[in-house]
Symmetry: C2
Subunit: 320 residues, 2 copies
């Protein structure tokens, strides 16, 4: 099948029609209508053998590459609207494309995202998405918005995607429902889009956890020019992770491996009840895990009350 | 150097500050101001060993990946504003990044483009850019706008990039200034942004020549639901290409290999003088090379007046 037939057959109508889009796939570029809202633009790439294993299900890859972009939009408090997609494929593999588009299209439809363009080329397997979302002027949430006195909250559960990765790397033993759930979390993360929109007015700062809780928390404190006290015993980790985390390095792994796609949020301690009430209908737990403080010395308060310096340990593509 | 230091050092301030941009590189996403213009979104990828050879100069790759995106914006009649960039690098190669950013930054600055975000990952060498441009509501130029009765124009010179590619593939012999010029055309194409903006009000339809003149012309007639008569003896090809094109397949190659980044334009025959007058200050030649006609049967009129069916022969990543 030719590049152009492939595009026509699989990519011309993916996701929901979005009212911002005047012209979608098919010309040199797409056209968006003028808009009185601000637009948030995000971009993420996934490469075979780096972000997903050789032989990963195309459906999962399609889901995840859009999900991780939507997670960035969520962290900014933006309503997803459109995406462009670049796919590099080693060979003409129509079956792969068909499965990929299913995964991509399902989550696009779920979040009202229209695929408006992109590029299909030959090359080592990789996918890149740029996504755009809308936010009322001045209402975007930045990672730089945390201030001393804010509480630090985290949505959902941390570490399950990490457990799946650890299992695949033969680091941890998992089985049954726990394994399934962890694998699901790693392969098909659910971005916290609805949650972020529900509580946007209460978030002073936010970041999504893609590089690992510790690394992203440090990104947040650096951007916000403050420090944080994080309490190990408050961390929302499941029974499985909890059992493993008794080995010190397992907790390190869980807090560093990333791929959680939960949100770290800076908000007033007084808004905790309201935050929880707004998130409850979305079945999203919110856990207060620390507080932002003045200065530069972030600490992790261990279960035994020891305080250790909190340093970024996360996935770094070119790190040591 | 870590991924984050790399981003901070090389990618945080690239190109011109653009007034559309409220927040650039550094957060989960960039923020654009509300805008009363339409926005055109384009995306293109370049992969090592596919779009550029192993060992290609990073400066050229940086130039070209933005240039080809700006060429798409030009074909739509949009004024470039911003770009996001995904870079996949096999290893931490700071020198490559520094050179790449120079090439990218030079052309970004030249066209008023601000780099607002992106992603840096480990992986086989490839670069993907999404770019956005502005156009007054209703003024974007589509490839579907050609109508029977319009003349077909092409900007500049066709085939020089193809000659460079043919030379590198040991297909053609070239040397001296001609070789230098052809290589320059292939490695550092100049998008017709200023030209498109100067004549936007006179263009009824346009497409940029990236896949090859014949292929892109067929894209245009298909989208416009009409046919075209293209005159071989009108084609703006240089002396070198002209000499080679006496061998029939050399002309085929030149019209099919792409990478010209000139514009194919549908406009009234009566506007030819005005088009030329508007393009003259930009030192851009415009050649009338054919006419759009009703029906589906496009023809190439050969130098000896034979008429042969015009079929798309261009670069297709998954073609036969």
């Amino acid at each position: 099948m030719s590049e152009f037939s492939l595009i026509k057959k699989y990519f011309s109508q993916v996701g929901s029609k979005n009212p911002l889009v005047k012209l979608g796939v098919g010309d040199d570029g797409a056209i968006l209508h003028p808009c009185d809202q601000e637009q948030v633009i995000v971009m993420d790439t996934m490469v075979e053998d780096v972000h997903f294993i050789k032989g990963a299900h195309a459906h999962d890859v399609g889901h995840k590459i859009l999900a991780v972009n939507l997670s960035d939009l969520a962290a900014m408090g933006a309503t997803p609207a459109w995406a462009t997609l670049a796919v590099s494929l080693p060979e003409d593999n129509e079956k792969w494309v068909a499965e990929f588009v299913k995964g991509f299209g399902n989550i696009a439809t779920l979040y009202g995202v229209q695929l408006i363009g992109g590029d299909t080329t030959r090359g080592p397997l990789s996918v890149t998405v740029t996504a755009g979302g809308l936010v009322p002027p001045g209402k975007a949430v930045l990672r730089s918005g945390a201030k001393a006195g804010h509480a630090l909250y985290v949505t959902g559960i941390i570490g399950e995607a990490g457990l799946a990765l650890g299992f695949r790397q033969n680091r941890f033993q998992l089985s049954g429902q726990v394994l399934s759930r962890c694998i699901q979390r790693f392969d098909r993360p659910i971005p916290r889009v609805k949650e972020a929109l529900a509580i946007r007015h209460l978030m002073h700062g936010a970041i999504d956890i893609s590089d690992g809780l510790l690394a992203d928390l440090v990104h947040m404190t650096e951007a916000s020019q403050c420090a944080v006290r994080l309490y190990e015993d408050k961390l929302p980790i499941t029974g499985a992770a909890n059992a493993m985390s008794k080995a010190e390095d397992a907790l390190d792994f869980i807090l560093s491996c990333g791929d959680d796609y939960e949100l770290l949020i800076a908000a007033e301690p007084e808004s905790e009840a309201e935050l929880k009430a707004l998130l409850a209908p979305l079945q999203c737990n919110l856990q207060r895990v620390g507080e932002f403080v003045a200065g530069k010395d972030s600490v992790l308060v261990k279960r035994d009350q020891r305080e250790v310096p909190l340093v970024a340990r996360g996935y770094d593509h070119f790190g040591q």
